[in-house]
Symmetry: C2
Subunit: 199 residues, 2 copies
């Protein structure tokens, strides 16, 4: 016989498909949930049902929200002509946590990748081109990951925007705040040295 | 503003209370769920609701199932006079995965602990005493963790059962299958040496 009843095994199997959980930790999480049925499992199931019903992608920028347009796209104060291009909603949230950016975002939903057969049509790049015109953007900030695919995508977008007169920038590369040189890779140190500034 | 809408933030907060997930990995898991609303999030919410409704502890042994008595306690073939005492349902499932035990279980629901103020009444120890008599047990196997609290509990139960005539055993201690001596702690090596057997 299986160790756990069918319904519980099914739940463990689905939980194990979450990023960061494997079969063993999913089992542990489910047991914990069952022990705390009242205070934890029911509220979690309800919150999940609610979000599954309500969550949707912003038609304009791809951010995740509960309305057709996300709060950032409907906030007129954020229409300052800057559009920050990120790979993923998680990156958008990370930027918002920083609180240093006052413009709007554009979530690509991935990066160009020849290996995985992801082309510009599969991302939201055509939509970005439209927005640059329709929102009278003055600057497009490419906040893409410093990976090969991220940088390839950044170059592609910069090329595509070349004729539009919008200024295209990217995040600075260098030593992270609180970072120790001894633990940094050579590439970062070289980049930080090349981009050194007078103090 | 918060990065994510209220409902999503609430879901992230609840997810972060699962063992093995923190605020960051909960955020990642929730984003993944939202991206896979159809194939993953809805089935998960439904499975969770179903288990929250159905799951209950077996009145006899404390195993988790969906009926008043678990399949092991209702299976007459498993009434062989052996009762295996475990701390937790996870341990019961681990024993069942091994498939080497044909008797019934008794889940204590924890260990005795002076520090956390857990006494015999807080565990299922009185119920174990009843079962030893009512189920005509011949052997009680103490499969408790090899921790201080686990071993204290084992000794307490062995003492409590001393007058009943039932034979009390515990799992063997020694080198795990596939284990390398070099990576084992001194205690395990000493225990394995003391319990050596002729081949």
């Amino acid at each position: 016989m299986a160790e756990a009843p069918k319904d519980i095994e099914a739940l463990i199997e689905i939980m194990a498909r979450l990023p960061g959980l494997g079969p063993r930790s999913a089992r542990r999480a489910v047991l914990h949930l069952i022990k705390k049925r009242g205070p934890l499992m029911r509220p979690l199931a309800e919150a999940m049902t609610r979000v599954a019903e309500a969550a949707r992608e912003c038609l304009n920028c791809g951010n995740i929200g509960t309305a057709e347009l996300c709060p950032i796209c409907t906030d007129a104060r954020r229409a300052n002509g800057q559009i920050c291009v990120v790979e993923d909603v998680a990156d958008l949230w990370a930027m918002e946590r920083g609180g240093a950016f006052a413009g709007r975002y554009h979530v690509l939903g991935g990066t160009l990748s020849a290996l995985d057969d992801v082309g510009p049509e599969d991302l939201r790049i055509p939509r970005l081109m439209d927005r640059v015109t329709s929102e009278h953007a003055t600057e497009v900030i490419l906040a893409l990951n410093a990976t090969v695919d991220g940088q390839t995508t950044a170059h592609y977008i910069a090329d595509a925007l070349a004729g539009t007169g919008v200024s295209v920038t990217s995040l600075a590369q260098g030593v992270p705040i609180g970072g120790e040189l001894d633990y940094l890779d050579d590439g970062t140190i070289s980049a930080a040295l090349k981009a050194r500034k007078s103090i």
